[in-house]
Symmetry: C2
Subunit: 470 residues, 2 copies
């Protein structure tokens, strides 16, 4: 494809995207495709001769699009949001075109320095103290793995990298912590047997007394407590672990404290919602995902560490072919993470923060929280429904509870309810299980979601519930 | 920013990108910026109020662009290429706009099925047998980490995930293996002490006899050999480990064989260059990076495994909030890698392979190899220069060797030569050290590189060499 063709198709794609954004509400939020539908329509082998972009683009629209679930749809209430925005999409176009590889300062000086600056903007925006340094990771999974590895090296006097993970180091997180923590513990060679899932309080937040007790027990058994992962905004119910109390315990026992605020972190941009950050000034590492709730295209995860030296000693590598004359003066972010190769992710973050300003981001966060409050009030005032956890920020956990159905029946009914609602294509929400109870989650966070969509979601849920035979 | 503004700026950005591609040769390949140049020009804090896209775009052009090293410049001969192409950039626009999160089939059914199909295309294209299954990873660093973890679990009967890495497992790779292998060994908790760097033969490829001897020694010491990483196309000199011989040794001792063909893999698309793949049919895992030499935007790394069950048992996680009704019928690629979140990377791969066809990719590979051969011949026929390793595929390792300068002097001279050549902004190449000798690398692989650029690079190197006082 020559440059003139790129220009022509580029314009066509921009128009297609703008039309897509304009008409997205006409599409089913959750794709109605069935397993294998697309697979069976794709040729078994690659073509030998090149095909025209007209043909490829046609297939994109006719074959791929029906199999897309629309994460940017205003009625996307499933999982957590991964909201993007026009400035972010525009920045991604430039990132793709430049095709920069941002592993070292030398390979893309502006990318490194923009990342350093924009990450310091983010640090200030969420209220972390100046001693924290930031780096962009792809996902919170990876950032939390970096934290666990740093904790491992710190606890072993930086010997595990050299000798392997020989002594049993113990990691603590609540029963509601994200699956990536268990996965990280396994990857780091620490072993799931050495992960203590601490029980939670009524609001699904970590119980600090249980944490202290577990640490004491492990010390008593001759094990070596190494790290606590506190969650701000658990995936199931947006519970907030009491970081201040947890930090005190970590200080007392000399443990690494990692805070996983993957979703909730963005809310800290508004000082009125920043209460949950209390104590994070004492953590060792902190992650939140601008790619969830901060209008920035996936992937973009913001990882902050108190002492970059520990991260560098844990993950730094200096092979000859990567050495440069500038190494003593600059940051080489390849040593701040798992991967060597790095995309130019700072650009979209810079575009987004400048386009919206901190004021614009606060406004969006408040808008979403207000809508969640409204939905929560509807649930709370309906005698056939109940809230399953305190509404926190933009997530509402609830279930349908007709008459005197038993727990098993309620679990079945609510699963049916969710499937029925999602099948309309008008709305998409997902579930979790809280203390054995099947729970529906309505997570508000798309850029274009408005009160009308919340009202419609509630109406659909009500209607569907009335069609279910108990 | 509203949709009309997105449309307007989208068109402006497409035109800017097309102009950039057209005029890229007027820009210095390697940015002439100095450490701190950009940082000092960026405000210390984020704005409260949103700024206009005109202003942001202006700053992008005036502040960011001078700090960009142009990976897509036809005179980029540094490191390895990370070439992109118009169809890939177009696909990235769509990926960004859709903003899909591709962790599970349900979250993006078409993305999952397209990935399955396109990865099978790639498998056929490079000649791996049908029993291999593919998944897209971000980088070879991550793919190789998945391989090391799979080997760890396999060698411990799937107990390391549960109990931690308790027994000393040994990993083998050549002294020329990529730094990501040592990094992966550390991350997986295996310990650098348990990584044996096997000596290489004259051509910098792993010596299989030394490998067998090292395994025997470790067995004799009561250690547990677990994994061999063979490299096809080492970073320093594109050496090809003898996979067939290595695979025989792995079979004999029951070791996991991972093949890192991050760069060279693309050459296997042409059966005439596929000789180095011999023996890969017996490996357990294999990685190559379409984002290096296959016209596909970074990041896109193709990881193939013989037995996906091992990968799934190593990395699978089933938290309640991710369970879906389709789970028994579909692939959920989140369980095939480190990260939970996943971008829609299959789209660009599909666009690229269809646009160029396997024939087009072969043609490009051959064009690059021919140019490297040409450069190699120039070096070889000049009595003031010498080749430092056999020219393999598209990489030429060489140095300037005037008169009877001693080795230390040659190291200094060649570093000066590289810096002088790069300072012209006309060309960018990087170095390595081979057996203690400072070596310049000319790596050919940009889509738009032509014979003229090779000729110019040689001329610049010759001229610069004549300006150096020995």
């Amino acid at each position: 494809m020559d440059n003139a063709a790129f220009r022509r198709y580029g314009h066509a794609f921009v128009d297609w995207l703008a039309d897509y954004f304009e008409n997205i509400e006409k599409l089913p939020v959750k794709s109605k495709t069935l397993p294998g539908d697309l697979l069976s329509r794709l040729p078994a082998s690659a073509p030998t001769d090149g095909e025209s972009m007209d043909e490829i683009f046609k297939d994109f629209r006719e074959l791929i699009m029906p199999g897309i679930s629309h994460w940017q749809h205003p009625a996307w209430f499933a999982y957590f949001p991964a909201n993007n925005s026009p400035p972010s999409v525009l920045a991604e176009m430039l990132t793709a075109g430049l095709g920069s590889q941002c592993m070292s300062w030398q390979t893309s000086p502006a990318a490194t320095e923009l990342e350093e600056r924009v990450m310091d903007w983010l640090r200030q925006m969420i209220g972390l103290p100046p001693e924290f340094s930031g780096v962009i990771q792809d996902t919170a999974s990876t950032a939390s793995l970096c934290a666990l590895l740093s904790a491992r090296e710190y606890a072993t006097g930086f010997t595990a990298n050299q000798k392997g993970t020989n002594e049993p180091l113990v990691v603590y997180a609540s029963t509601e912590a994200h699956s990536s923590i268990e996965k990280g513990v396994k990857i780091a060679g620490l072993g799931k047997d050495n992960l203590r899932l601490i029980q939670t309080r009524d609001d699904f937040s970590m119980c600090p007394e249980s944490l202290a007790k577990a640490i004491e027990e492990d010390l008593g058994s001759g094990l070596k407590p190494a790290c606590v992962v506190a969650t701000l905004g658990t995936t199931s119910s947006m519970a907030m672990d009491p970081v201040e109390a947890v930090a005190d315990i970590c200080k007392q026992y000399g443990l690494w404290l990692h805070v996983d605020a993957a979703f909730a972190g963005t809310a800290a941009v508004d000082p009125n919602h920043r209460w949950f950050m209390k104590g994070t000034e004492n953590c060792d590492s902190f992650v939140f995902n601008p790619h969830k709730w901060m209008l920035t295209n996936f992937d973009c995860s913001a990882y902050f560490v108190r002492d970059p030296e520990i991260l560098l000693r844990t993950l730094g590598m200096q092979p000859e072919y990567l050495k440069t004359a500038a190494d003593t003066e600059v940051k080489n972010y390849r040593d701040w993470g798992i991967q060597l190769g790095r995309r130019f992710r700072a650009l979209k973050l810079w575009f987004v923060v400048r386009s919206y300003g901190t004021g614009g981001i606060r406004k969006m966060v408040n808008r979403h929280i207000t809508m969640a409050k409204d939905f929560s009030a509807r649930v709370d005032s309906d005698k056939c429904f109940e809230l399953m956890a305190p509404r926190q920020l933009s997530l509402v956990c609830f279930r349908y509870k007709p008459g005197d159905t038993d727990e098993e029946g309620l679990n079945q009914i609510n699963q049916q309810l969710m499937e029925r609602v999602n099948a309309t294509g008008e709305v998409f929400l997902t579930h979790t299980v809280l203390r054995g109870k099947y729970t529906l989650r309505l997570s508000v966070g798309q850029r274009t979601t408005s009160a009308r969509h919340i009202q419609q979601a509630w109406q659909l849920i009500k209607e569907a519930s009335q069609q279910i035979t108990v």
